[in-house]
């Protein structure tokens, strides 16, 4: 089973306008991948949550959007990267209602529920990398 990237694009994440750019690109590529409206909406919502996290908590960063081709399936993968303060307790951060920034604390755990693959790597002082993917 080999996963190949059909195409990829990186978007810088600095402001809330950049979050919209991520939503738009995700929508465009999700339609091209053949996702249903509900699947599109779930992926775009997850992308929006994570892009906002990168801007608000990670001090800005970037996202790599990739259209993937697996042996018999297609998918869309987004990798969010920042060099911010990092997350000390990932398990806690994934819990609903946990927040350090005055939000609802639904972003990380909520985004995880909306996608098929979810992977997070974070080290205090070094930054955070979150990879999500949805498959068709």
């Amino acid at each position: 089973m080999t996963v190949t990237a059909l195409k990829s694009e990186a978007i810088l994440l600095r402001s809330s306008e950049d979050v919209i750019r991520v939503r738009q690109l995700t929508r465009e590529w999700a339609i091209q991948t053949g996702f249903s409206l509900v699947e599109q909406t779930k992926l775009i919502t997850a992308a929006s949550e994570l892009a906002r996290n990168t801007v608000d908590y990670g001090g800005g960063g970037k996202v790599l959007v990739e259209a993937l081709n697996d042996t018999n399936r297609r998918g869309l993968q987004l990798t969010f990267m920042d060099e911010g303060p990092g997350i000390a307790d990932i398990e806690m951060a994934l819990k609903d209602g946990y927040t350090t920034g005055g939000g609802l604390g639904l972003g990380l755990g909520g985004a995880k529920r909306l996608v098929n693959d979810f992977e997070i790597v974070s080290r205090p002082g070094e930054g955070t990398r979150v990879r999500i993917a949805r498959w068709k």
């Binding site: 809330s16 509900v38 909406t41 939000g103 639904l106």
Partner: protein
């Protein structure tokens, strides 16, 4: 500065969100609506989100905040026109918009506000 227009219709304020809102725009709408409820002595707020393709936790929180602030200022809020895919995603995300009244479309939402307003005046 970019703003979402707020229309006044009798005792009610109407908002139709037609653009993909970034976070600052959502905050501005929240502030503008709160100010207009007081300025216009509005008794109801109707927010049409039928053009919104997603409602994430930030927009969801804004809708909840508007409803809560309106309530404190003696006004009712109703959110109308949510797309089915948005509703499915919102619930899976973990957001149920508690405290926010909803209706399927603008017409039903206006009926709800009028009923709330007239029953109160009797």
């Amino acid at each position: 500065m970019e703003r979402i227009p707020i229309l006044k219709l009798g005792n009610f304020l109407l908002v139709s969100v037609q653009v993909d809102m970034h976070d600052r725009l959502a905050m501005t709408l929240q502030d503008d609506l709160t100010a207009r409820i007081v300025k216009d002595s509005a008794r109801g707020v109707l927010i049409d989100i039928s053009s919104l393709e997603i409602v994430d936790s930030f927009i969801g929180r804004m809708l909840g905040n508007i409803a809560a602030m309106a309530h404190v200022l003696d006004a009712e809020t109703v959110v109308v026109g949510m797309q089915p895919a948005v509703a499915i995603t919102l619930v899976e995300l973990g957001l149920s918009l508690q405290g926010v009244r909803t209706a399927l479309n603008v017409e039903k939402g206006m009926d709800l506000l009028r009923t709330a307003f007239t029953s109160e005046r009797k």
